[in-house]
Symmetry: C2
Subunit: 228 residues, 2 copies
């Protein structure tokens, strides 16, 4: 994990029994190189967080649930806003919807200064971010869209959306106040787009994925402060 | 609503379109007398919050869900911890479980200084609380068990449990940290009993109801502080 991941996320993962190896994202240390060295040294199997067909398929079960609920509600056409880092969740959902609810289209949502997917979708090729760290939405900061995920996104998704940190904090507060859910900043970007970027979304029906609740109390407090 | 209800709860209710009439619980103003006067004056139909068969039946659908999930998991014997104010939720769940999962027993959980149900269950008759207001768990502070609910609880439930405010705050923090749920203090009492009163609970399997997330940011902040 990046050394600047939330302390809560690192602690929760250790509580589950994992050995957490930290790396310096801000200083440019490569997670890929570190992973490769650990695999070599200990004879491990590497499971990538997004560029991995079975991870994408697993995250796609969220798309199966969306398709089932949309069918139950009689929804045939909609946009699904999905928090996007490396693109595994977005790609998995897009594949599931292609098969089960072809009128429902994925829109990726990213933090404004880490919108590599939105820019890559617009350019038709994979582009990176200027920064590798910093910003509020640590969990979905990735260097660029994945090798496996990007072609899926390019084929199936609409234009990418990007949201600012203030809107993310306000969305976290709305999730707290109305939905009674704890969302981490990166997990709330799609909700922020749904609430505050309506003019960029097509159609009447918006479906929104909230994913991830590993947020330190101090950051959560910043979100609650937006309630005034 | 009591004038000392969370500002968030009052605001959320008004947002839903309701007219909220406040009363002074701490000063001993009677909600029942106020309700009766409004009914008379405006020709309204009174729906009591717990001493109302259809409210109890509606809350009992939570018991149907518990029975269904227990069956799916192969659970035949368990204790279900339920936050208890006037006893509507507890009574509804107890009735549903009597019909659908008779080996699963309800245990009411209350704040320590407002444990009228636990004392009433022990005494075999309805007893009141010394105080009518104050304390952390505003939503489940009621003067005494209901006329309709208490006989159901007395027939179907095990001994009542009571928890202290510190344990409630710690349970809210656990819900935040592990379950990613926003629980109000009164909604977290059963989780507090499950986490910190294990010695008072029989058997291996504990089912816990978390109900209600209307909590002001300041109170939520108190809970997060227990994470240290």
């Amino acid at each position: 994990m990046p050394a600047d991941a939330p302390a809560l996320k690192i602690a929760n993962t250790r509580t589950e029994g994992a050995e957490v190896v930290l790396y310096d994202r801000a200083g440019g240390q490569s997670r890929e190189a570190l992973g490769a060295a650990l695999v070599e040294e200990r004879g491990l199997t590497l499971i990538r967080p997004y560029d991995e067909p079975q991870v994408i398929a697993g995250q796609g079960t969220c798309g199966l649930e969306i398709a089932e609920e949309a069918r139950m509600l009689g929804i045939e056409t909609a946009e699904v806003l999905v928090p996007c880092g490396g693109g595994g969740l977005s790609a998995g959902i897009a594949l599931a919807l292609q098969a089960e609810a072809p009128g429902v289209r994925v829109r990726t949502v990213e933090p404004r200064d880490f919108d590599d997917t939105a820019r890559s979708l617009a350019a038709g090729r994979r582009l990176g971010n200027a920064s590798q760290a910093g910003g509020l939405c640590d969990a979905i900061l990735t260097p660029m869209p994945g090798e496996i995920t990007f072609p899926i996104l390019a084929r199936l998704c609409g234009p990418g959306l990007a949201v600012g940190d203030t809107d993310v904090l306000r969305a976290m507060a709305e999730a707290y106040q109305r939905l009674k859910l704890v969302a981490e900043p990166g997990g709330a970007v799609a909700l922020a787009a749904a609430l505050f970027h309506g003019s960029e979304i097509a159609g009447e029906t918006v479906i929104c994925v909230i994913s991830g609740g590993n947020v330190d109390a101090a950051t959560f407090g910043l979100a609650l402060k937006t309630l005034g």
